[in-house]
Amino acid sequence: MSDQLEHRSVISGIGISKVGRKTGLSGIELTVSAARAAIADAGLVPGDVDGLTTIGDTSRAAVQDALGLQLAWGVTGNSAEDGNAAGAQLGAVVNAAMAVASGLVRHVLVYRTVQMKGGDVTGTNAVTGSREWMLPFHEYSAVNMAAMVAQRHMHDFGTTREQLGAIAVTARRHAALNELAVYRSPMTMADYLGARWISEPLGLYDCDVPVDGSVAVIVSAADYAADCPNLAVRIAAVGTALRGRPSWDQGEDYPRGAAWDAAAHMWSRTDLKPHDVDVAQLYDGFTILTLDWLEALGFCAMGEGGTFVEGGINIGLGGSLPLNTYGGQLSAGRLHGYWLLHEACLQLRGQAGARQVHGADVAVAAAGGGPLGGCLLLTR
């Protein structure tokens, strides 16, 4: 499979902005900070960048202009749709890899910038699209959809609150080793269980932390790997498929989500197997979504995610599958899947400091929940 598109590009550089609660920084300031770091990390200057992708919000036009980029190509993939077969949040990386593989561009700047939003999230009358089937029933937030998935998982498989809590408590333990993480003070299981409900059976610490921040990566032609100042991270396989219905509530396999299609797609494009993975960075917008990814990617059988994470042994540093080693969105902050990708690259480069997983040769980064799912298998 040496000719497949994934092998024609590498991740040559990574960058991250200041991350925090209500930083007061604008989207373009955050983005430029991450982008300049990623470009320099790749050993490039802005004039070398000829492609630009994102999944929206801080606009490509603003970033192109601010950095004086001379682009051959750029595209914004929209992840705000309730389903897409494009790799979900990580789709901008896949778009970049495809553009590089096609020969159209050589160095693509990929970014995701997230800012805390205030105000009324519930909308007004005359809703259409997927929201038509949610808002009239007081379903205003993805936490409600995730909570219903969790409730069903508990019913079908005996999954417990303590098992979901192991994901949150382990993430906080890892965040203590990451000076960029927003919440680093110790969290106990009692803290987790005692937190207020958001949407039963999910409580406050089942939900990720809204922050301001930006991550950028550079996707370059594979032949640039030899010139990279840092180890070029290789893309072994992408998972972008969405074969089921693009919906939170109509899927034939409910409560299984798009993660299952994306994961199966990814494994179909590589000879590597789940047991080859040394470190996993799996979307934790809500704890139950991480559990779904663990099962979908085959790290445990369907329904056994709770047992797998229980006590935080397997998923801790030194465990069989260290998970969300930077603290995850649950403790480090919600950068919409891109901090997961950044951490996967750091681990493969051996630059994760106190939280480094020794001998990390294969990593997976996955993002999305419900009808959104995309994943990347990455190697040294």
Partner: protein, 135 residues
């Protein structure tokens, strides 16, 4: 505060107004009998565009549910439940909805339910939101 109301179109009018007569209505493929939800102009199973509006029994069961505690919309009293109900007419034909007529503590996965309607939107041209109560 009242419920958010949908934009009514020719494609969804049957769904949101059927409750005026106490009927829960979906689009259904005349050729293969498949119910289409959300409403669509052709059958996603057999690709026929021979589509009719059909009333269903309004009976189903609770697939899953949540009790929401977070105040998302000003004026909506919390906690309240959100549930996923599957109708008896077709596996996978589901509505995200609310359970009424019992306490949140009494809701259980598998519980049989039946539809009832609550009006919303413009009082002069209301829509009828399908909710479910224990059967």
């Amino acid at each position: 505060m009242s419920r958010v109301a949908p934009l009514i179109t020719e494609l969804n009018r049957h769904f949101w107004t059927g409750g005026a007569a106490g009927e829960l209505k979906f689009l259904r493929c005349v050729d293969c009998g498949y119910y289409l939800h959300p409403p669509a102009p052709l059958c996603r199973k057999c690709f026929s565009d021979n589509i009719e509006v059909a009333a269903v029994s309004g009976r189903g069961h609770v697939v899953t549910f949540t009790v929401n505690h977070q105040q998302w919309r000003p004026g909506v009293e919390v906690p309240y439940n959100v549930a996923l109900v599957e109708l008896i007419e077709q596996p996978g034909l589901r509505l995200t909805t609310n359970i009424v007529g019992c306490s949140n503590e009494q809701i259980a996965i598998g519980m049989p339910v039946t539809v009832q309607f609550e009006s919303a939107g413009d009082a002069s041209d209301p829509v009828f939101v399908p909710l479910f109560r224990p059967l």
